[in-house]
Symmetry: C2
Subunit: 475 residues, 2 copies
């Protein structure tokens, strides 16, 4: 570990890349814009997946798998959709040594091919709703890529549902957004603002896009999950129809919603510090790392035996004993701090003799000796405290960097300075939104569900405005 | 459910496709050769994945994720590998609206790109072994496809390990084959023959390929999993080197091993009958389906309440109550038989009154009334019995259709008739193997690890032969 992490304050972007690589979350693949998710990063993703999948299944969803390849003509069936995605497509033109009659697109998202299948499967109202999710890889050709945040290929889940009525589909889109809020805040310890996207920021083909937006350590926003009410756009494009109770043919109403490996980047940037990652205990691949300390063979035996006994008593936690002989305890401390393990337990001959262990928190650095018999209660309590502390710290940071402004001069000053989230009235006109983006690089992240009762004046044009929007520079 | 399953005896191939589609395991995708894995089929795959993943992790492996796209030039670095895979490649030539400088291959398997990364990661013997697995999709352009058995895109796991010595790599390849045997026999209830592939049947780039071969209901063989000792072939092609304890640079020794969604097809064909699927309890998405029987609202309430109470007492089983009102009990019986649920529980007003439930086995059709209080013990015992019965039935079928022959006439007669597995001495000459294939369509499935002590005479050329090979027509 010769190389040091670039301090956040020196260069946030390099700090991020250093942490991702040095904590062994991911590495660059030989193909431009692609990444390799290394075992430690993948274990984190597995925990994210598990936490989301549990919630999907608890709300009646099932998993399935749809094909990677989509005929180019499918994308063209929904006008907005193809406009949005065609600049980002990877295209297969040859298969089995021959040129294909119709080029195939590597899925950038699966509304089209899933719509095609739903049209085959849905006959009557009895077949509805269809509540399917899939975990898969998708490809979007990106010019400027960053590990986890924007890669040509990424992993995600995409839910696709079909309903008999607009109300049901709307409810579904909002239900899934709620699940994302719950996951982000309670498991990833990242506070998020939930709301809808402006027309210019919404998903290509959606009627309404909902989003959760999080503030990163550099005060920029990161879209951490989206849920779309697709109306009948895809149902009409793919002829997803059902016979209703009066035996009349109706188009379905559909939704889609997704969270991706980008969430890993969000966790890095929401919690990490100059020593490396800080992982929320609920998602950490290792929750407690035990570092035994010894001099000589005899001590080693005693200390390791004690460490194993203690670890055995923590069997419902993800606990790891680092008993490697080729590294010093000091090296191990740094190593596991870099990897963001929430809690470290140190056990040396003195601790064995005194019947205790030293616990060190990754988030605050606090160390304390705890009697052996108290560990099975103390450790889960500490992990819970770390989980809520991380959330509170991130929330405080967001609050300290969220501003409500009255004038466009104030608005501009913020984005010329450190940046942050800015709450400002917006008249709803895309021209104002565009001008603001042009002049400040800040975009509308969302129009939050929580709105004040009063009307106001558009921060840009001064006309009457119904709603406040959250503006920020974004990933 | 108007359409009926084609009987096995009438047309095995149509029977298979009928069962896969009517049990809603999979459907045809709009792109030729691709499939959609429907929720019921995917739930089965999730259970297969879970059963394998648990075994991989218990033997020290970790999961990771490598990119979908591989530069064409990578495949060319290993001469045998590119020869084997180039006829099956899907090629991306355009990305983001532009022609790519170097075409990208959609991974048919990942030895090359993983080899490239291992070369970056491995420095010294301390970094070894690397024991990584990945769950992903792969693409092999196929001319003749069949749902699950041979599709252009399929899901699988591919393990890739790197070791300091040949012995360790050999051990690993065999350890993983053992895990496949254990999984196939104990979880999928499919007896398999383990052995090595002949030179002409081995993986493109391997030194030795090991395989497990299963007999399907039409007496054909299905390769259900393979494990390869790759020697230093990929280490040399990708420069995977390490400094040994004497500070000298050495090439690594690598392995790879995989099981795919083909396993779903194997389960269908090993156990299914003319009523549909029969799923082994350990992998069945639903282990017990409860069909409540009622006339009128009042009975409905009583019966459903009882069904729910019983199901609540079976919380460690995958239990489903089919309380739909729009279908009759008879329809439901057929439906869940088609879907291969191992055990059906019937509860009507009479059962409620008498404090019992009727249990019906999917494998034998046996029905018996069981007192309510005995259910929590009786049901797991029955499921275990079904699990072992399925295995024994499949083993008996294989034994009844496995022949040891002394003459090539006998050999030919078998493959002109019903077919089966034929044990015969083989001299090891690829010319004999090829001639046999030409004349009978039977190929060497494997050279089993278990061999007789005596030598024999090659079934084709009559020369002295060291080993017996298993011949069969294969999927």
């Amino acid at each position: 570990m010769v190389r040091k992490i670039t301090p956040k304050s020196e260069d946030y972007s390099r700090w991020y890349t250093d942490v991702v690589q040095m904590a062994e979350l991911a590495d660059y693949a030989p193909v431009k814009g692609c990444m390799v998710i290394r075992p430690y990063g993948y274990a984190l993703w597995e925990n994210i997946r598990e936490a989301l999948d549990r919630r999907f299944k608890a709300t009646g969803h099932v998993n399935a798998y749809f094909p990677l390849f989509i005929p180019m003509s499918f994308l063209e069936k929904e006008a907005e959709h193809v406009k949005g995605f065609s600049p980002e497509l990877a295209v297969v033109t040859h298969g089995g040594g021959k040129k294909l009659e119709e080029p195939l697109v590597v899925r950038p998202t699966s509304e089209t091919v899933i719509g095609y299948m739903y049209a085959k499967w849905v006959r009557s109202y009895r077949d509805l709703p269809i509540l399917i999710n899939q975990w898969c890889n998708v490809v979007r050709w990106e010019m400027r890529t960053r590990l986890f945040l924007r890669t040509t290929e990424f992993l995600w889940q995409e839910g696709h549902t079909a309903h008999a009525t607009a109300e049901e589909a709307q409810e579904e889109a909002l239900r899934m957004l709620d699940i994302y809020v719950d996951f982000a805040q309670n498991d990833a310890a990242i506070p998020v603002i939930a709301g809808r996207k402006s027309e210019s920021e919404k998903f290509a083909g959606a009627v309404t896009s909902y989003t959760i937006e999080a503030m990163m350590g550099d005060r920029k926003a990161l879209q951490a999950g989206t849920s779309h009410f697709l109306g009948q756009n895809f149902a009409k494009a793919f002829d997803i129809k059902y016979l209703d109770r009066n035996n009349e043919l109706q188009y379905c109403w559909t939704t889609s919603w997704g969270v991706s490996t980008r969430m890993v980047g969000a966790i890095v940037m929401a919690h990490g510090d100059d020593q490396g990652l800080i992982l929320p205990p609920k998602l950490a691949p290792i929750q407690v790392v035990v570092v035994p300390i010894w001099h000589g063979e005899e001590e080693r035996g005693t200390v390791l035996a004690e460490a194993k006994k203690i670890a055995a008593g923590l069997s419902n936690l993800r606990c790891h004993i680092d008993d490697r002989e080729e590294y010093t305890p000091g090296w191990k401390f740094n190593h596991w701090e870099m990897k963001g393990v929430p809690l470290r337990m140190e056990i040396g001959p003195r601790e064995v003799k005194e019947g205790q262990a030293v616990l060190a928190r990754r988030d605050t650095g606090e160390r304390k000796a705890v009697p052996r018999e108290a560990l099975p209660e103390e450790i889960p309590a500490l992990l819970e405290d770390i989980q809520t502390s991380l959330y509170r710290r991130a929330l405080r940071f967001r609050e300290e960097n969220t501003f409500t402004v009255e004038s466009y001069d104030e608005f501009k000053a913020i984005f010329e300075g450190q940046g942050g989230f800015v709450n400002a009235y917006w008249c709803g006109d895309a021209a104002c939104e565009e001008a603001i983006k042009e002049e400040t690089k800040a975009t509308i992240r969302c129009i939050p569900f929580n709105q004040p009762d009063e009307k106001g004046r558009c921060i840009y044009c001064g006309r009457e405005a119904e709603e406040i929007a959250v503006f920020a520079k974004a990933y």
